[in-house]
């Protein structure tokens, strides 16, 4: 099995096994891009449990992820195995309450994105088992 196939299988498994799965640059605690920060911030503000994976350690992760999702940019949020979107779509859905509906949680009263990103994070870490 080629390394790329191995990565693709790993990503597909992560998407299938985690109800809320975020692929991002960096981690929720230490995001490495503003778009990833805002997206994980919205999930944190909603208080949902989610798995997050940093795509930066190996460029093949991003290549394979985009091949699976047919979506060129990072972050990418999957819910129940389906791509919800990137930062713009997630933030739009967060602000309208659609994201809370989709995730089955209460919409917070204050949905200012800047507030969202500083809420305490309680994400479930997804161990990166890929070989460097």
């Amino acid at each position: 099995m080629s390394a790329n196939t191995e990565i693709r299988n790993f990503l597909e498994q992560a998407i299938a096994e985690n109800e809320v799965m975020l692929f991002m640059k960096g981690t929720p605690d230490a995001p490495r891009c503003g778009f990833s920060m805002r997206t994980s911030g919205a999930l944190n503000a909603l208080g949902v449990r989610y798995a997050a994976m940093d795509i930066l350690p190996d460029p093949r992760i991003r290549e394979e992820l985009s091949a699976i999702s047919d979506w060129p940019t990072i972050p990418q949020l999957f819910v129940n195995g389906k791509l919800v979107g990137g930062c713009d779509i997630v933030m739009e859905m967060y602000e309208t309450g659609e994201l809370a509906d989709l995730l089955g949680v209460e919409q917070p009263e204050d949905v200012e994105p800047d507030e969202a990103s500083v809420q305490p994070a309680a994400p479930m870490a997804l161990e990166n088992r890929l070989e460097r």
């Binding site: 979506w71 060129p72 940019t73 930062c87 713009d88 739009e92």
Partner: protein, 86 residues
């Protein structure tokens, strides 16, 4: 950091290319940092009618192909139809 791109995309270029792909669309493109690589585009087009947000954004991503993530480091999108947000 060295800028290795021979041609830095301009807001006008992005606007023109989106307008060519979606004739009749109302397109506004902003260079977020003034560095020619982080853009924000707001597009109003009746081509988006009946499409999900994902499909709407993919229509725009498809205009630029591999340039997204390359010379166009980031392209933030807001899409809507002339009648409303969806």
């Amino acid at each position: 950091m060295a800028n290795l791109c021979q041609t830095v995309p301009s807001t006008d270029e992005l606007k023109n290319r989106i307008e060519q792909a979606l004739p009749g669309a109302n397109v506004q493109v902003e260079d977020l940092n003034g560095t020619g690589d982080h853009f924000r585009a707001e597009i109003v087009s009746d081509r988006f009618a009946g499409l999900s947000r994902i499909e709407q954004h993919k229509l725009i991503y498809d205009v630029f192909g591999n340039e997204i993530g390359g010379p166009i480091h980031a392209l933030s999108l807001k899409t809507s139809t002339p009648g409303g947000t969806q």
